[in-house]
């Protein structure tokens, strides 16, 4: 019913005759009101949430930078969007974050886009089975995502960056290299020691954010992603 009304208002608003009429403003207002009352489609949710996810991925990096912390925290938006509207949009968010981040922040970021897509896929699989429902389960998901991210990003770090990416983990890699380990071993060991901690922290952050999500957003977004499977215990 609301959708039919919205379509009616949109067609009224777009008609040339009404555009000249003084009621046009009221019609525009009614269009916006009816559109906001209609159940949210994935397209609209993606239009709202994907840019927000990208900004969160890049923005939290800025917070971390401002606070001078030895962490990445660059996939919170990806995991959150995966949970809210599905893994495909999560992957889009992750890849777009690193493409846009390449233009705005650091041009070497796009080479780690595959890592973001992997994070979205793993988070999606786990979320579809309700693994974001409780705190201990979320920690397990974080560790799993960290391991997968470490494995996927290792070839890029080895092949393109020569093992050193300029982050805090570079110190661990250089220590392992100095102790006589090969580059492949050093990078994978560094990834396996740093990424699970970083990703667990991010998953916990997402868990907390989803818990603090207002009820009106939860109701709107529940049919689109994996919220239903993961909020039953918290509700």
């Amino acid at each position: 019913m609301v959708q039919i009304l919205t379509r009616f208002f949109v067609s009224c608003r777009d008609s040339r005759w009404l555009q000249r009429h003084r009621f046009h403003r009221i019609i525009c207002f009614m269009t916006t009101v009816s559109a906001s009352l209609a159940p949210m489609s994935v397209k609209t949710a993606a239009l709202a949430l994907v840019p927000l996810g990208v900004l969160l991925n890049l923005g939290i990096g800025t917070i971390v930078h401002l606070l001078k912390l030895p962490l990445f925290v660059d996939a919170v938006g990806t995991i959150l969007i995966t949970l809210l509207i599905g893994w495909r949009w999560g992957a889009v968010t992750g890849v777009l974050s690193f493409l846009v981040g390449g233009l705005l922040v650091n041009p070497v970021l796009p080479w780690f886009s595959a890592t973001q897509a992997t994070i979205a896929i793993v988070a999606g699989i786990m979320a579809s089975k309700g693994w974001f429902r409780s705190l201990p389960r979320t920690i397990v998901v974080g560790i799993l995502i960290g391991i997968c991210a470490a494995i996927v990003s290792a070839p890029v770090i080895i092949w393109l960056f020569g093992g050193i990416t300029g982050s805090g983990s570079g110190f661990i890699t250089s220590f392992l290299l100095a102790s006589g380990k090969k580059i492949v071993e050093s990078v994978i060991l560094t990834g396996l020691s740093c990424e699970p901690i970083d990703k667990t922290l991010q998953c916990l952050l997402v868990f907390w954010l989803v818990k603090s999500l207002p009820e009106r957003f939860r109701t709107k977004l529940a049919p689109l992603g994996y919220l239903r499977q993961n909020t039953t215990a918290n509700a």
Partner: protein, 245 residues
């Protein structure tokens, strides 16, 4: 000048050829040439500032780190495990640093000069649906506002006395609270915006407007860029084979 600017697909194809070549090339001169060419393109299109910013803030520390690790600590190269010595390590560090610089400059030269409707045209010509294009475009416009909001959130927490000291643990504790405030305030406004955009059919209108204005490039420009990229790859492999027969 307009004739030398490539179309969207030509731009992407030339960048892919150059980037693929960069990944496999092991030659200082070839990588330096590509880097300089990309910097020249950025300079011609008025984007030199971003390139310098990257070199100073990101590349220089990275290159120094590579030189210290491979030249002074490991004193060798993973490509030649049997050979040892500072020059071999420094050589590997130099090749890797040049490769990173070349890849970053190619990426910047491909996408950074696009502005306003050119950006819309670029993404829609790559086959993305209007809503996705509108989403991408909005990121660029929302980013400065978002950064300002991040500053405000951190400053507000300091002003309220919630960050009493600068210890690491105090700073770590701020993340979730700052993040939550940021997320919830942005979620509200972005939902409203998306509903308004959809009801006003803004994504479709945006793509239509960009299409009516046309792209900024030409076919001859695309052809020139792709040819240059292929020539560079051929030169790089030939030069490498001459040096290492």
């Amino acid at each position: 000048m307009r004739n030398w600017i490539p179309e969207e697909r030509g731009r992407i194809l030339a960048a892919i050829v150059a980037a693929a070549g960069t990944v496999f090339v092991r030659d200082h001169l070839a990588l330096a040439l590509l880097w300089l060419a990309s910097i020249l393109i950025l300079w011609c299109q008025g984007e030199l500032r971003s390139a310098i910013h990257f070199l100073w803030r990101i590349w220089l520390p990275l290159a120094s780190g590579l030189a210290i690790v491979w030249g002074l600590i490991v004193r060798g190269s993973p490509e030649y495990p049997d050979a040892r010595g500072i020059p071999i390590g420094l050589d590997y560090a130099a090749i890797t640093s040049l490769r990173i610089a070349a890849l970053a400059s190619v990426f910047q030269a491909t996408l950074l000069p696009l502005r306003g409707f050119q950006r819309v045209h670029f993404w829609s010509r790559l086959g993305l649906p209007p809503s996705a294009v509108a989403g991408i475009i909005s990121i660029f416009d929302l980013w400065p506002e978002f950064v300002r909001r991040v500053d405000q959130v951190v400053a507000a927490r300091c002003a309220r006395g919630l960050m009493t000291d600068r210890r690491l643990i105090t700073r770590v504790r701020q993340i979730p609270f700052a993040f939550r405030t940021l997320f919830l305030s942005s979620l509200d406004s972005s939902m409203d915006r998306a509903v308004r955009w959809q009801s006003e059919r803004l994504p479709e209108r945006l793509v239509k407007a960009a299409a009516s204005r046309g792209g900024s490039g030409s076919i001859s420009g695309s052809f020139a860029w792709i040819t240059l990229a292929i020539c560079w790859v051929a030169f790089a492999f030939r030069h490498h084979l001459i040096l290492n027969p």
